[in-house]
Symmetry: C2
């Protein structure tokens, strides 16, 4: 059937066209069915919304995105036909029925998500089925390759390519620039890309961009890595496994991250970036994704097994995550703490230890013996700081960058303890919520500076931590949240008083 | 934060507001998060879409539906705050984790779907989790009651209230008006409501509306039932378990109908309509939903068990569904065949047998002994036809209605057999697809008239079935489909020739 295409500024989170009820009846399409739209030279398939108010008969409303896809302008004629459900809908059903999927089926599902041929409803069902029924390692390997195929791949002239990835979930984990600087200073190439915060207080890219650019093109990442030895860039500016971003938009409202999806997502990005050697950091602790050593070891097995199948050498490090890494949480505060350590500061040791342990494993994967010791030497000798500054400058940062130049938010609230005792618990998620309430990560100066960590003694009236904010109202909101729901717990002599109630 | 409300004609399948990216960052809301919007007197919660193109800072775009909910007009000021995820999202997670849900949890999920507080993504995850992990009978009973609570309930002054329901899936199932007429003629009250076709060639309402009104108000259904004894109305015009319609919109693209959802959906409509006695028809056959006697018996157990828990007397009938009921498929063709039988025609016997068997069970539930025999007597005596005409007139049909006045589509295609033999298989789904291609159910005259059924002999060149269409092109399309994929299979003497191939 012939229709007149009309531009309509709809949100394009799900490419759809809007057609009149009567036309839909004529074509035999229901709400959320698909149509094939033929422009003069190009065709596409989209979902259909029906309406008897916003659109007239004989007209099809489409977003600029759909118009571009078929090379049609406002007012031009298009041909529209009913289009059957894609085969991938059947594969989703198979996973709902707990069947193994073939490589072809997995590739079809991933391609159809990437090409927006599956609706949000269908992608949600896919993720839910994956969450409940899972995938075996062979399926996950196919899934990984399918995700790689949706985007670009980097090819480095210099080999081998080292990389590392943290499963995340621990606040204050500002080790990436330190690890990259040490590894690159040791002569290995590590083109590290990171993400921004989704639900955390600050992703690596959120704090790195306070002192240099992170939005680098693939060509620039290649150039810096091959000459300077490493980067700390944002991965999102490249077209690497782009289907992952589409999936995250559906995972987020559901609050799930199916294991198969998570593993395939991590591995696909590493393969697409051309990594030959990968270290996976698995933070383990009560407030993180991985809560027990058994869970952590299961991840280790999966990553090693996947690595073998995918032809990439994988090692894993299970790291302590029962409290934040270091003292700073939030973009500028973390940047400051990270750079101070590179400048020679010996505190907080948890950051130094974690960074050097991880860097040490990578050095050993690269054939450098006693990696941990060598990493510590490179850090304390200043070689890491020199390499760090080379990378910063390559990423358009200032050659005069100093930690002390970075200033956190001007609205400060000290949170003091009402009693004396030892800090026995730190709730990671509560800290993250307070930092976010204070404005982190979009307000760069917002965050938390811990004055006490687990096992330390605090006297009544002493500061436990300080909240920083760029915005006065947000700072107050964060303070209220911290008072209502204390993230640090103090162990006094008395847990509970068992006497009669006082009249 | 204060915003200016602006009208935006978005499709309202999912009530959302659209806000500027910067405002969303300020409020701390992500795409698909929720906000609470306060008008002067009323508040509501909706999902948020972010944009930096369609909307300016300080403005919130909303559909007329959302404006109505908070009693705000274009240009007026509203207050908007971040709204946490509803508790029901956690309950969906629990079902994903295969946990039993409490009555409170189930009521919250159903209420939040009804009030559009859950997004399509979340409802899809809910249905997928239900499909995979299921519910026990106690949960389904809670689910049923929760669905009843989302809509109105009918209260009849006359008791008891008889009803019946068919699980569907068998084409040509035009027995409803016959069953209702017999039961009402026997002095029992049966306020039957039906649906329109979703994926079938014709629902009961689709064919009944070719000879009388089906869109009756609840008050009118009550009045007709209490005075005349029965109706054959469309259930959709009443506000009965309205959440079901919202769920169907998500089930349809997924092609699933989770058992718990199906059972709760049927029972909730029957409870809401005030039924005290319910007969469930379970068509069983290879081309239908229920394929084996074991599956059918499992449904019987579930329905009886649910009936006991919900205080409604339930009986079930497993019926033959390996081929269509009668010969006619499509609105006018089915109406014609149905009315002919009420007028005294003895053919096709499968329609008479099924209608009288079902009516007989209902009569026995109502205390009338030898129900099946009594049903046949009421039909053959003309009492059923007299009652049928009373109901037709009450539903604004013509008092002079005759089967012969109904005319099917004028474009006819006879499909003949290329060889002689017995019809050994009839593919229900293929017949339905052909009837739908011919225009059924929206083109009232479109459909199929079977000339041969299973076990009957057809000589080469004899007509197997005739396709009817209101529209020439659709008729031809249906004919092509029938030639390409024959719905009736003829058993000749030779299944396959094993000799050498002919040169």
């Amino acid at each position: 059937m012939k229709f007149k295409a009309k531009f309509y500024n709809v949100d394009s989170s799900e490419p759809r066209v809007i057609m009149h009820d009567d036309d839909c009846v004529e074509l035999g399409v229901k709400e959320m069915d698909r149509v094939r739209i033929d422009g003069k030279n190009r065709s596409t398939v989209t979902l259909v919304s029906r309406s008897d108010t916003v659109v007239k008969k004989g007209v099809v409303l489409m977003s600029s995105d759909v118009m571009k896809r078929i090379d049609v302008k406002d007012g031009e004629e298009v041909n529209i036909e009913n289009s059957p459900k894609p085969e991938s809908v059947k594969s989703i059903r198979h996973k709902m029925d707990n069947e193994r999927l073939s490589s072809t089926e997995i590739h079809e599902v991933v391609r159809d998500i990437a090409e927006s041929k599956l609706s949000k409803i269908e992608v949600s069902a896919w993720l839910t089925a994956l969450y409940i029924n899972g995938m075996d390692v062979e399926e996950i390997a196919d899934f990984t390759n399918a995700m790689v195929d949706t985007g670009d791949r980097m090819v480095f002239d210099r080999q081998p390519v080292f990389d590392f990835h943290s499963l995340g979930g621990v606040p204050g984990n500002k080790v990436t620039p330190i690890v990259v600087s040490i590894v690159a200073a040791a002569g290995l190439m590590i083109p590290k890309t990171s993400s921004r915060a989704i639900s955390s207080a600050s992703g690596t890219s959120d704090f790195v961009e306070t002192f240099c650019d992170v939005e680098l093109s693939a060509a620039r990442i290649k150039e810096i890595s091959e000459t300077v030895g490493g980067t700390f860039a944002w991965g999102g500016a490249m077209n690497i496994a782009p289907v992952d971003d589409m999936v995250i938009r559906i995972e987020y409202p559901l609050g799930i991250n199916p294991r198969a999806q998570m593993l395939a997502s991590i591995m696909s990005k590493k393969i697409a970036i051309g990594a030959t050697h990968l270290l996976v950091d698995i933070p383990m602790g009560s407030g993180t994704k991985v809560k027990t050593i058994e869970e952590a070891r299961a991840y280790v097995r999966d990553f090693m097994d996947l690595g073998r199948r995918l032809g990439i050498q994988v090692e894993c490090a299970i790291t302590y995550a029962d409290q934040p890494v270091g003292s700073a949480i939030g973009p500028i505060l973390e940047a400051k703490e990270c750079i101070k350590i590179l400048e020679g500061e010996k505190h907080p040791s948890s950051v130094i230890e974690k960074a050097c342990d991880l860097a040490g494993v990578i050095l050993e994967m690269g054939g450098i013996p006693y990696g941990g010791e060598e990493a510590r030497r490179i850090l304390s000798s200043g070689e890491a700081h020199k390499k760090f500054m080379e990378i910063v400058v390559a990423q358009n940062g200032s050659p005069d960058l100093k930690a002390d130049d970075l200033q956190p938010g001007k609205f400060k609230h000290d949170i003091v303890t009402a009693k004396s005792g030892y800090v026995h618990t730190i709730h990671n998620k509560t800290l993250v919520n307070i930092a976010r309430a204070a404005g982190s990560p979009s307000d760069k100066g917002a965050g938390i500076m811990l004055n006490k960590k687990k096992g330390q003694r605090a006297e009544k009236g002493e500061v436990l931590f300080t909240i920083y904010a760029d915005n006065e109202a947000k700072g107050l909101r964060a303070k209220e949240m911290a008072m209502r729901n204390p993230p640090l717990q103090i162990e006094g002599m008395m847990i509970e008083r068992g006497s009669r109630s006082i009249r």
